[in-house]
Symmetry: C2
Subunit: 172 residues, 2 copies
């Protein structure tokens, strides 16, 4: 062939994207065993790690890859399933919190250990600590360079926190 498409740069993104796709698929399968989608898992995780197991809808949108309308709908579904509740914000009557219910916490506790196990099985456990550190270091640089901080206006947050599945962004 000897064409342009054998460019090492193309191969590089191919590797990154396929690794991502592969892991996504594995994770999604495990989430589904517990009746969750990937987005729902992310939502419930972000909430559970926030003070009071709750976040305002906008902040939740900022921490996830969703738009605010997307958050509205995901919270709709999860509220219908009893995993979340909406709670009015005392200070600002425009805002409302999404709160994890007891059932939601239980669901998360059922799902999380298996999830960590899968990460280890398909990702971190595939490499010796040294190689893993090198991989993560490279990823961190790429992430810092490419990640659109403007994604939801939460660019003031510590990126490392965001990477680690969400830091509670304190704004306003």
């Amino acid at each position: 062939m000897t064409n342009v498409f054998d460019d090492p740069r193309i191969t590089a993104v191919g590797l990154l994207f396929e690794a991502h796709a592969g892991l996504s698929a594995r994770f999604a399968a495990q989430f589904e065993e517990h009746g969750l989608s990937a987005v729902e898992f992310e939502v419930i995780t972000r909430l559970a790690r926030s003070p009071g197991n709750q976040l305002r809808m906008t902040d939740l949108a900022a921490q996830t890859s969703l738009s605010t309308s997307g958050v509205t709908r995901v919270v709709d579904r999860m509220e219908r399933d009893g995993l979340l509740t909406r709670r009015a914000c005392p200070n600002d009557r425009r805002s409302s919190y999404a709160v994890v219910t007891a059932a939601g916490m239980q669901r998360l506790n059922e799902t999380l250990p298996g999830h960590l196990q899968m990460i280890e099985q398909w990702f971190t456990g595939q490499l010796d600590p040294e190689a893993l550190a090198a991989l993560l270091d490279g990823l961190r640089r790429v992430r810092d360079a490419a990640h659109p901080c403007a994604t939801a206006g939460s660019d003031d947050a510590d990126p490392e926190q965001i990477a680690a599945t969400g830091g509670a962004t304190r704004r306003s």
Copy 2:
């Protein structure tokens, strides 16, 4: 906090997923400048690198992250836009080829250099060769472990070939 969510495994997937999201967004923006979506770019690239600039619909589906119905529709759109054509397969009257038109090749040639430049700018150029090699090596292992070869029954294809020009994030 000292909670479960600071687990290094979570941080690791966070890095990988955010790097992917960041690059996807950058790439998508550049594709859009040329009137292409990420999926369309992947489709036209896979076709252009194949002998005769063509592939059967099923094979195209196998190489992309799309289902066969997804391919049907993407090819519909691109045929409407004049980038592709369908051609009947002489041997098997069930099959049809998707072929890149001259306009399609031109569009690709307009898009590709900028794309390579972006890869370099946001990804490969962020690391010195040694670190990049380490990163790619790690990614390759993770990809080999986690990537679902069964994705579309094309497990006989050279994985490295498939890796090249990985396109959009699949649903998951």
